[in-house]
């Protein structure tokens, strides 16, 4: 754990931010073409974030500001551990899956803290919905990931990627097909895409936790959101799609996964919060448990 | 067709059983209006409510400044025999007061507040008919009376935009409007084959 590792980690976080912001802009153009209109420029998300950082903002007290900084710092710390390919990992062998699960909560907690520090009731409702959604999608997701860890024998992301890339093994999306579907549904819940967009809900609860932010705090929150998306989609790529052996393969897989999730979310409405919980605890949980049983006990892996 | 004609006849017989209306006004097959006395309204409304006219559609007033009277209008509706019944009474304009009907139709509470705010009619029996509902910080006579001048109020309170005419004509030609008028006159004079 030297300074070189830390510098590599920070550069991975920065690369993830730039990558995700560009791909988000390209996706806005794709969705716009789907709706038969021109879309914004591909660098529109950058313009949005820098515009927000250039406005004067209103503060509601020190806990409001501190929560945003804690959220952003937590997320950058999480992204520093993310391996990009099976050969490049900033912190060597410390890219355990459970580090990500643990550190993602810091970001969410920071946002929750500052949202409730602003005193707006919409923010409290939004934070409660976000935490309930998190409770809903974590359970089937972790069942599938534990199956993957058992099959590949290690919980380090690099080792899982290498396991999938050895000849004779398929990607886990093909080897555990039912688990792959559950993983993708959990990914859509993590990203907050429709139909699981309950925690933002612009029309109902006036953007949920982000209701009192303006200017610089909102800009930092947007940066935090972009890096969070980068972490989650990269997790999906490494766990289910076999990671990548070089950077171009990683970029291609990342782009395909994010665009596919966006295309599905474009044609859906929005669930209510009780529908979200009921959805995740019904079929995805049954499918995840079924997949775990047949993969571990019977060994029926494609 | 005959079904709703008998609805109107049903209403006619029902109303005439209780009071004698001053004017009966059958507007079309779904609307009928009666002008009655001020102290017969409550009796008639409760009787009609028992017969099925359970929805109070509207409650308002009309201002007749020449006769020095307000005309309070109640419009009620039945969903089974669809007929709108308008009940109108004339009350005094200088000290207008009409007993409240919230015992019969509880939803009329807000209509009476609105009517008081816009006409100044008092409704004793309604506990908060003087609370503001629509206008905030109103400082003039009730605005829907006919002796209230909205244009004067608007000129007094809200500044208008002034448009300045800051051009000057420096040549001696007539303006475009005058040229248009001259052309029209010439065209008129040439009609009928008359040569200038």
């Amino acid at each position: 754990m030297t300074i070189v590792n830390v510098l590599l980690g920070v550069s991975v976080a920065f690369f993830g931010f730039v990558l995700q912001t560009s791909i988000a802009g390209v996706n806005r153009k794709v969705i716009a073409r789907l709706q038969k209109r021109q879309g914004p420029r591909w660098y529109q998300e950058f313009l949005d974030i820098f515009k927000l950082l250039s406005k004067r903002s209103v503060s509601h007290g020190w806990i409001f500001d501190f929560g945003v900084i804690m959220a952003l710092g937590g997320i950058i710390a999480t992204a520093m551990f993310m391996p990009l390919t099976s050969t490049f990992s900033p912190f060597g062998a410390s890219d355990n899956f459970f580090i990500f699960v643990y550190l993602l909560a810091v970001g969410m907690l920071g946002m929750a803290m500052s949202a409730s520090g602003s005193g707006n009731p919409w923010a409290s409702i939004g934070v409660m919905r976000a935490l309930t959604t998190m409770l809903a999608y974590e359970v089937p997701f972790l069942v599938v990931v534990l199956t993957i860890i058992k099959l590949s024998g290690s919980s380090s992301l690099t080792a899982i990627q290498l396991f999938q890339q050895t000849s004779g093994n398929n990607w886990f999306l093909i080897a555990l097909p039912i688990g792959g579907i559950v993983g993708f549904l959990a990914l859509m819940g993590m990203l907050g895409k429709k139909p699981f967009e309950t925690y933002i809900a612009p029309g109902e609860i006036a953007s949920g936790p982000m209701v009192e932010y303006g200017g610089k705090q909102l800009g930092m929150l947007f940066i935090m959101h972009e890096i969070t998306v980068f972490i989650e989609v990269s997790l999906f790529v490494h766990l289910f799609l076999g990671g990548a052996s070089n950077i171009f393969e990683f970029l291609l897989k990342y782009f395909l996964v994010y665009t596919f999730a966006n295309l599905i979310s474009n044609v859906n409405g929005r669930f209510k919060i009780d529908q979200v919980v009921k959805f995740y605890y019904k079929w995805p949980l049954i499918m995840a448990v079924f997949q775990a049983v047949i993969a571990i006990y019977f060994g029926w892996v494609i | 067709m005959t079904n709703s004609m008998s609805n109107i006849e049903f209403v006619n017989t029902l109303v005439n059983k209780h009071v004698k209306p001053l004017v009966t006004d059958i507007i079309d097959q779904f609307q009928v209006g009666y002008v009655v006395d001020q102290n017969e309204i409550h009796l008639l409304l409760s009787a009609l409510k028992n017969e099925g006219w359970i929805q109070m559609s509207y409650l308002s007033a009309v201002d007749w400044p020449e006769e020095n009277k307000f005309e309070v209008v109640y419009v009620i509706f039945n969903w089974d025999k669809p007929v709108y019944i308008q009940l109108r009474t004339k009350i005094d304009r200088t000290n207008p007061s009409m007993d409240s009907i919230i015992q019969i139709y509880p939803g009329a509470k807000y209509y009476e507040r609105e009517c008081h705010e816009f006409f100044g009619i008092a409704f004793p029996g309604n506990p908060d008919y003087e609370k503001q509902l629509i206008l905030e910080q109103w400082d003039d006579i009730p605005p829907l009376r006919k002796d209230f001048d909205p244009q004067a109020y608007s000129d007094r309170k809200f500044p208008q935009r002034t448009y300045t005419e800051d051009y000057s004509v420096t040549n001696n030609e007539p303006s475009k409007a005058e040229k248009r008028k001259l052309r029209k006159q010439r065209a008129e004079s040439l009609k009928g084959g008359k040569k200038q």
């Binding site: 038969k36 209109r37 420029r41 313009l47 515009k51 612009p202 209701v211 303006g214 | 109020y153 500044p159």
Partner: protein, 192 residues
């Protein structure tokens, strides 16, 4: 004829450096405007064609936003009654700076068809500063888009200074508000 002697770059004064930073900020601000659609009146019906595929607003970078703290533009569409104006002033003062106001329709200009009403104000300029007016009753959607492009041009030329004007002439605006509205604080059943 330019001199061929080498002369080092002149040091910029503080005002010029500020101006350059402000120009960079203006580039970002005019290419990603977020509007708060305060649909007060009838002219709000011109916004759906501007947002959807007919005259796409998103290619200019504009988009709708849910709360006043996140938005840049306050879009006043149509007439403003007294009650709405009190709440609109609340909303305007909540927005983060720099903020712009775009007024659609003839009603904020000179009262429109409601100029002689006891409950509708006649000139929005006296109460909050307005940057762009779009005339019409109601304006064509192309005029609305033209108004937005005008606003972007004004931001580029540093003429969209309504928010600074509000700060400098705050007393004048407040005096106007109190003359017409009586009181800007809201007192009704839900705010007591």
């Amino acid at each position: 004829m330019k001199s061929t002697k080498f002369s080092p770059a002149t040091k910029l004064s503080k005002a010029e450096v500020d101006r350059k930073w402000w120009e960079i900020g203006d580039f970002f601000r005019r290419n990603s405007l977020w509007m708060l659609m305060y649909c007060t009146g009838c002219c709000a019906i011109e916004l759906p064609p501007a947002m959807t595929s007919a005259y796409d607003m998103e290619r200019l970078g504009m988009g709708p936003m849910a709360t006043p703290r996140q938005a840049d533009i306050l879009l006043v569409s149509g007439y403003l009654s007294l009650k709405t104006l009190r709440r609109l002033i609340y909303t305007y003062e909540q927005m983060s700076e720099p903020r712009y106001v775009v007024a659609l329709g003839s009603c904020p200009i000179n009262g429109g068809i409601y100029h002689d009403s006891h409950a509708v104000i006649n000139q929005l300029d006296q109460y909050i500063p307005v940057d762009v007016y779009v005339a019409g009753c109601m304006p064509n959607t192309e005029s609305v888009m033209n108004g937005f492009v005008d606003l972007m041009g004004q931001i580029k030329n540093k003429k969209a200074n309504g928010w600074k004007h509000y700060h400098e002439h705050f007393a004048w605006y407040k005096a106007n508000q109190i003359t017409s509205l009586g009181e800007v604080d809201v007192h009704d059943e839900f705010h007591e």
